[in-house]
């Protein structure tokens, strides 16, 4: 394991002030405005510890939103919401194909685990739908809701093809992952990526993450996991329908639907023109029919 040369400048375990450009030591990347940053979530490395969920809630002061049992395996948050910006999905693959499982291969994990998050889409549909400009692209190429501008109209909620953004009915504002915008401005790695013990969540510059992800897919293929593929990189599943690419992308080993991800997400704005044209065509059809009926009726009346 390589240790960053700057780490030697900090031999103590307690600090009187934050470390300058700490992300250089924790994630190997210096955070600078004007560059594109994102997450690479490698689901084959996720152990379902939920450290990311806890770190996210702790840093962002998000409340626990369900304290009961969901009945969904070890999943206690159920999904992404206004107060859960990281969600660890547990998918148990026993008895797949409709049949009841009678035996299991030894020493094989039958679990798929994935830490879901806002995808910070390149062409973000939530941002396109926002009438007040509360949703904006930051200097780090991430998508954030400005709380003082958000009027809680909720147009962004159905516009998101991944079902990420949500409105809190108590404060009347839309909320979602900010990719720790405040931490990035201070030179810190996002809380979820920093807390991930297996580096399933990796933070970094997008080009570097794409390179790392492609290498990891090749490595998995070499190891016999032929099903490994990327979701959300340019040209891959998840980067469809005009989204171009996702700043938070995933390495999956099963169909996207298994992870509760859409196979071919699209921008809501793609459907505006066809809807408008079909509406106009319908109106024109009704008008022609009405004219024909009135013309026929007036002829019969004579």
């Amino acid at each position: 394991m390589q240790i960053h040369p700057r780490a030697r400048e900090y031999p103590d375990s307690q600090f009187s002030r934050p470390i300058r450009d700490e992300s250089e030591l924790t994630a190997g990347v210096k955070i600078e405005p004007g560059k594109s940053y994102g997450f690479f979530t490698d689901t084959t490395r996720c152990i379902g510890c939920k450290a990311c969920e806890v770190a996210c809630k702790e840093w962002n002061a998000l409340p626990a939103d369900s304290v009961g049992l969901t009945g969904m395996s070890y999943d206690n948050t159920g999904g992404l919401s206004a107060s859960t910006w990281r969600h660890v999905a547990f998918i148990e693959k026993i008895g797949h194909g409709g049949g009841r499982a009678t035996e299991m291969a030894p020493y094989q994990s039958n679990w798929l685990m994935m830490s879901d998050v806002c995808k910070h889409c390149h062409n973000a549909p939530c941002l396109e739908a926002c009438p007040t400009g509360a949703l904006f692209k930051t200097e780090f190429d991430t998508v954030v809701v400005q709380q003082d501008v958000c009027n809680g109209c909720g147009y962004c909620v159905p516009a998101c093809p991944f079902g990420v953004i949500d409105v809190n009915l108590d404060d009347g504002k839309a909320h979602k992952c900010t990719l720790c915008y405040d931490r990035l401005k201070g030179g810190f790695e996002p809380a979820c990526a920093k807390s991930c013990p297996t580096d399933s969540i990796q933070f970094g510059e997008l080009a570097e993450l794409h390179r790392r992800a492609a290498e990891r897919v090749q490595e998995l293929h070499r190891l016999g996991v032929e099903s490994a593929y990327l979701y959300g990189t340019p040209g891959a599943p998840g980067a469809t329908g005009g989204l171009e690419y996702l700043n938070a992308f995933f390495l999956l080993t099963d169909a996207p639907e298994v992870y509760n991800l859409p196979r071919a997400p699209t921008r809501a704005s793609n459907r505006v023109m066809p809807s408008l044209l079909s509406g106009l065509a319908t109106m024109a059809g009704f008008a022609v029919a009405a004219v024909a009926l009135f013309a026929g009726a007036s002829r019969n009346g004579r």
């Binding site: 840093w59 962002n60 002061a61 998000l62 409340p63 369900s66 709380q147 003082d148 809190n168 108590d170």
Partner: protein
């Protein structure tokens, strides 16, 4: 509605963590019915201000909904 007094420890968007005088820590979400706006909370955190909060229990999670915040 209940009232509590404490010190503002942390503010994120429209949420704030308050160390109550009883010693417990409580998370408050600013109600959309409150005259306070999220951007007005920042100075409370910077000043570690002592506040009196009128609130009701949140029914969608483990938090309280602040209706009125007064710096004391």
């Amino acid at each position: 509605m209940k009232t509590a007094e404490g010190t503002v420890l942390l503010v994120q968007e429209s949420r704030m963590k308050v160390q109550l005088d009883s010693g417990a820590s409580q998370l408050f979400i600013i109600s959309h019915k409150s005259p306070a706006e999220p951007q007005e909370l920042q100075h409370l955190q910077k000043a570690q201000a002592k506040v009196r909060i009128t609130y009701e229990e949140g029914d969608r999670g483990m938090y309280a909904v602040a209706r009125r915040i007064m710096e004391i």
